[in-house]
């Protein structure tokens, strides 16, 4: 929970820093966003994506198990009930690079996707939704990664 509060503080400061800069989310990327995938922290990631800091929202859901038996494959999903969503992100806070996947959705699909990510250790996992009018909202969930098997 400590980490969560840290993140809220961080995102608030990023929001302040970016306010008034008029940065809009890019809507369609032709190429892979290297800077976003290399971001180590949330502020770096938000900067790379050209968005403002996220706020927690009950309109966004993150799905995943409470415990993963193996960090190599952890099922996670991001969904939202918000209208006009352009982009969904899945982040793993304690991975070397936070951003795992980024989905640009159209009106032809539901703003709800599931995939599987790698997790190096127990961590908060975030689903982030970015709307057409530049709202950045998130939900978080802690997923514990345990040791399984003989450990050899």
């Amino acid at each position: 929970m400590q980490t969560r509060r840290d993140m809220l503080t961080r995102s608030a400061s990023v929001a302040a820093a970016l306010a008034g800069l008029g940065l809009l989310p890019q809507t369609a990327l032709a190429n892979w966003s290297q800077a976003a995938f290399e971001a180590k922290t949330l502020p770096e990631l938000m900067k790379a994506l050209g968005t403002s800091g996220p706020a927690e929202s009950k309109d966004v859901t993150i799905t995943g198990p409470d415990i993963a038996e193996n960090g190599a494959v952890v099922p996670v999903g991001a969904a939202t009930t918000l209208p006009n969503v352009k982009r969904l992100l899945l982040l793993v806070e304690k991975n070397p690079n936070m951003l795992a996947a980024m989905f640009d959705v159209t009106d032809a699909v539901e703003p709800s996707i599931s995939t599987r990510v790698k997790m190096g250790q127990s961590s908060n996992v975030f689903a982030v939704a970015i709307t057409g009018d530049n709202k950045v909202l998130y939900a978080a969930k802690e997923i514990k990664v345990t040791l399984g098997g003989c450990g050899g």
Binding site: M1, P65, E69, A72, G152
Partner: protein, 264 residues
């Protein structure tokens, strides 16, 4: 914030027993999430192609391979293996039988394939073939034949191998798989000295291993068991591995096969 409150409440309410139960629930939830979308499917598709593809010096497919139910019969073959084969005068499991077919039908070198490292080249092909062939018996019940004297003898030898303790840690297969309801870390250990139930133990392999992202047939499963037992290296398709297959497979009689499954 809401989550925070719930978490705290849980922490207060939890006793050791309760915490353990929720750990088990968490793991069960994780496994259920993975079961929907098992990458073993990718290997099944590859295995079916390999079965039908003309390959090797003889440029032949495996479609005339006899897995025990007659040449070319794949459906239901998996749940009756290992079994006695009159042509080779051996009890063979799926992998050793595939080696026979690859050699006789396709002209490939079985000894070389058996010696090759897991997960590469022809060994990767073996895993894909095993995935598809086992999938063709999905939902069928384990029904290994014990009519032939050699099949009964291999059961007895397999039982002895299962209980054989050796190596610097004194482990046998039975050290971990001889009792009900045991775990290594959080991993449930089926009791393989009897029928452990539908889709458990022998009836769940081959399986996609999440930890390595690879398909493992029973040969590879046994190989890694012996590694963890701190034993020397069991030859691929050697008699000890086949006899263990007979022992576990016969014990599992009537259990529904879910192979290829997905495993940690």
């Amino acid at each position: 914030m809401r989550r925070l409150v719930i978490t705290t409440a849980l922490a207060v309410a939890s006793t050791a027993g309760f915490a353990q139960k929720s750990t088990a629930d968490g793991i069960a939830e994780y496994r259920a999430m993975l079961a929907d979308g098992n990458p073993a499917e990718l290997f099944e598709a590859k295995g079916e192609d390999l079965w039908k593809k003309k390959r090797g010096p003889k440029n032949a497919s495996l479609e005339q391979c006899d897995l025990g139910k007659g040449p070319g019969v794949v459906k239901g073959a998996w749940v009756e293996l290992p079994r006695w084969f009159a042509d080779t005068k051996r009890v063979q499991d799926l992998e050793s039988r595939l080696l026979t077919c690859m050699e006789t039908l396709q002209g490939l070198n079985a000894a070389e394939i058996a010696k090759a490292p897991f997960g590469k080249g022809e060994q990767a092909n073996m895993e894909a073939l095993a995935a598809w062939i086992s999938a063709e018996s999905r939902g069928a019940k384990m029904n290994l034949p014990q009519g032939h004297a050699e099949e009964r003898r291999m059961y007895e030898l397999g039982k002895r191998a299962f209980f054989f303790r050796g190596g610097p840690m004194d482990f046998s297969c039975a050290s971990c798989h001889g009792e009900d309801g045991k775990r290594i870390r959080l991993q449930d250990l089926p009791n393989l000295t009897k029928n452990p139930g539908d889709g458990v133990g022998f009836a769940a392999w081959p399986a996609y291993r999440v930890s390595s992202g690879e398909m493992w047939s029973m040969q590879r499963r046994l190989n890694d068991c012996y590694r963890q037992q701190r034993f020397p290296y069991p030859g691929y398709a050697s008699d000890v591995t086949i006899s263990l297959g007979v022992y576990m497979g016969v014990n599992a009689k009537g259990a529904e096969s879910i192979a290829p499954a997905i495993k940690r």
